[in-house]
């Protein structure tokens, strides 16, 4: 199995502080992966590198069969070749309806001229209804996204990610602000999505990670500390020292 995303030897420093230190990370085309690590370990910065928000000082980031280097592409181009991202704070367009938010994300041409003449086909309406149903927002299509609850916004953002039909999904702390029932629904959804594409989930909540039942990568000070099943990494003495030992 060839890898979908290959990050090797990446380094990022902010004003001399090494946020990412020689990081190497690989994920296959249909894989679910959880990333855990203490606050400030560089989890969000890792996602910034892959999505083009932050340029690494050194190292390489390769994507897809043709091993396209993501370092030369803009954020928008990276999104168009199939990398979707969910931010730590839910970021939906509050002033627009759920339908409009989903329409924006729907896989379609992105250039201004084509968008100008784009009109919603019946298939698009069905797809939007479908996505909304999948995340429990079917009854809220006409509401402004700003009126939704925190958990609903998280889901709307997940639905927008699905609408983009990315090949790689980066999900930053999806369960924040969700009730236990919502969390359970979210795990089920992520496991389901990962059957057809690669999904990377950053999460603090160990219960949540356990339910994902997947390979876990532990980050610490910008580098990989351990990798393997959850049980395997939680037995690692280094991991216990830096992370679990601190009572998280």
């Amino acid at each position: 199995m060839t890898a979908l995303l290959e990050v090797s030897g990446a380094c990022v420093s902010f004003d001399g502080f090494r946020a990412i230190n020689n990081l190497t990370f690989t994920i296959g085309p249909q894989e679910l992966r959880a990333i855990i690590g203490p606050n400030g370990a560089g989890k969000s910065t890792f996602m910034d590198i892959v999505t083009g928000k932050t340029r690494p000082d050194s190292g390489s980031v390769m994507f897809g069969e043709k091993s396209t280097s993501l370092l030369k592409l803009s954020e928008a181009q990276i999104a168009r070749i199939g990398v979707g991202r969910k931010f730590q704070r839910p970021t939906v367009f509050e002033d627009q309806t759920v339908t409009e938010n989903l329409t924006l994300a729907l896989k379609a041409a992105r250039c201004p001229w084509r968008v100008l003449i784009w009109r919603k086909a019946r298939a698009d309406v069905a797809r939007i209804a479908d996505l909304a149903a999948q995340v429990g927002l079917a009854d809220h299509l006409a509401r402004k996204a700003g009126e939704l609850s925190h958990g609903q916004k998280q889901w709307l953002e997940i639905a927008m990610l699905l609408a983009q039909e990315p090949r790689l999904l980066l999900v930053d702390e999806p369960a924040a602000g969700m009730t236990p029932a919502e969390r359970e629904h979210t795990t089920a959804l992520l496991v389901d999505i990962a059957k057809t594409r690669a999904v990377v989930v950053v999460e603090h909540d160990m219960e949540f990670v356990r339910r994902l039942n997947c390979k876990v990568t532990v980050l610490h000070e910008g580098a990989v500390l351990a990798e393997g099943s959850l049980d395997h990494v939680t037995k690692n003495q280094q991991v216990i020292d830096v992370y679990l030992g601190r009572g998280e």
């Binding site: 803009s74 928008a76 931010f87 409009e100 924006l104 968008v115 939704l148 925190h150």
Partner: protein, 408 residues
């Protein structure tokens, strides 16, 4: 048309414009009872052009969130481009007639020299500057009305947006652009007659027998038609997914990038489109004003444009029209010396001087207390109501309520 049905304000605006134009025509000196003087018709026609510019400003600022304080530069450039043809062709007529008085028909070279000395005598140039190379032809010069401001917007926008200049910095940059252009045009060797500007633009070449009474109505109708068409076009642009994308860019451009849209491309598109609309508005405005000079590109002109849109209510197209019409008509009333001065204890309140203070004050008041502007009043009349979303979110449990909403 389905599109018209989904936008009731569209029909109201177009119908109002039509009725207004008919009423004005019936009351005009040229084609009606003569209740309205020709100079007032020109004021109304010019106001329609300003509304058109405000419409463009609303698209670029109210919808796309780019607070450009340089769009009146495009407006004036459009005026200069059409003014070159008007002045050249009209001077050519006069020179030809004058030379023909001598008995022998004049040679082309003689006519050319005559035109050059007539137009450029004031700035002491004896050769026609090369930028006047197209001035003899209406279609070519009309092309320049679109191309010159369009290309300027393209170059400026490409540099600014690619460097991700946003917010206040972008506004300052646009001010610098219009100021630099104005200073350049003030020079005598700019090729556009320095601070004299272009004049006599109210006379249409080939129509010397048509009175200004009739011409003013023609231009009035042309301005009204342009405004109506632009309203249709811009309503269409903002109604679909494109409108959704630019509003999303206004609210959170980083997020839009991660959806795969090239934010710079969209900003550039909107910037150029609105620059061209402003240029066309200027090309209709200055023949009615009769004169254009570099003072028209003063940085304050573009700031006024933003003030009109803010007072009218940005983010709603009819708001821009109401704001521009209301404020610019009121402004010409106050500064025209027709408003009575008010005697006060410590002196007289002279409106010509104090009007700007009043305008500035009302701008501050609108921004603070009625951020939706005059257009917002129409919304509340129509029963549309959206909660005031200022304040911090309350967190997951209270859902979507913001601090202040939850309190009441």
């Amino acid at each position: 048309m389905l599109f018209a049905k989904s936008k009731p304000s569209l029909i109201v605006v177009i119908a109002t414009l039509l009725v207004f134009s008919l009423v004005v025509t019936v009351l005009s000196e040229g084609y009606g009872t003569g209740v309205l003087s020709t100079s007032f018709i020109k004021t109304l026609g010019k106001t329609l052009c300003l509304c058109l510019a405000a419409l463009a400003m609303d698209l670029v600022w109210g919808y796309a969130g780019i607070l450009s304080l340089g769009h009146m530069a495009f407006f004036a450039l459009g005026g200069y481009m059409i003014g070159m043809w008007l002045m050249y062709a009209r001077t050519a007529e006069i020179v030809t007639t004058a030379l023909a008085g001598g008995g022998l028909p004049a040679t082309p070279a003689e006519i050319q020299d005559g035109i050059t000395s007539q137009i450029f005598g004031v700035v002491g140039t004896s050769e026609l500057p090369f930028i006047w190379g197209f001035a003899h032809s209406f279609p070519l010069q009309m092309l320049l009305v679109v191309l010159v401001p369009g290309l300027l917007a393209l170059c400026f926008g490409w540099l600014a947006f690619r460097a991700r200049v946003t917010g206040v910095y972008l506004s300052i940059l646009t001010q610098a652009m219009t100021l630099a252009l104005a200073l350049y045009l003030f020079q005598n060797d700019s090729g556009l007659r320095g601070n004299n500007g272009l004049s006599g633009l109210q006379n249409l070449p080939g129509l010397s027998s048509t009175s200004q009474d009739s011409l003013s109505i023609w231009f009035f109708w042309a301005s009204a038609a342009a405004l109506g068409l632009a309203y249709l076009l811009i309503s269409w642009v903002v109604s679909g997914k494109f409108g959704s994308v630019i509003r999303a860019i206004r609210d959170d451009e980083a997020r839009v990038r991660f959806l795969g849209y090239s934010v710079e491309g969209y900003k550039l598109f909107v910037f150029i489109l609105t620059a061209v609309i402003c240029a066309l508005a200027g090309a209709l405005y200055y023949p009615q004003a009769g004169i254009i000079n570099p003072a028209e590109l003063a940085p304050t002109a573009s700031i006024y444009l933003a003030v009109w849109v803010a007072i009218g209510g940005r983010g709603r197209l009819y708001g821009a029209i109401i704001g521009a019409a209301f404020v610019s008509l009121l402004s010409s009333w106050f500064t025209g010396g027709r408003a009575p001065s008010i005697p006060l204890v410590f002196g007289t309140l002279n409106w010509v001087d104090w009007w700007q203070v009043l305008l500035g004050l009302s701008f501050v008041l609108v921004t603070l207390f009625a951020p939706k502007g005059i257009g917002g009043l129409f919304d509340s009349l129509a029963g549309l109501h959206s909660p005031n979303r200022r304040g911090a979110p309350l967190g997951p449990n209270d859902g979507s309520l913001q601090e202040k909403e939850a309190l009441k």
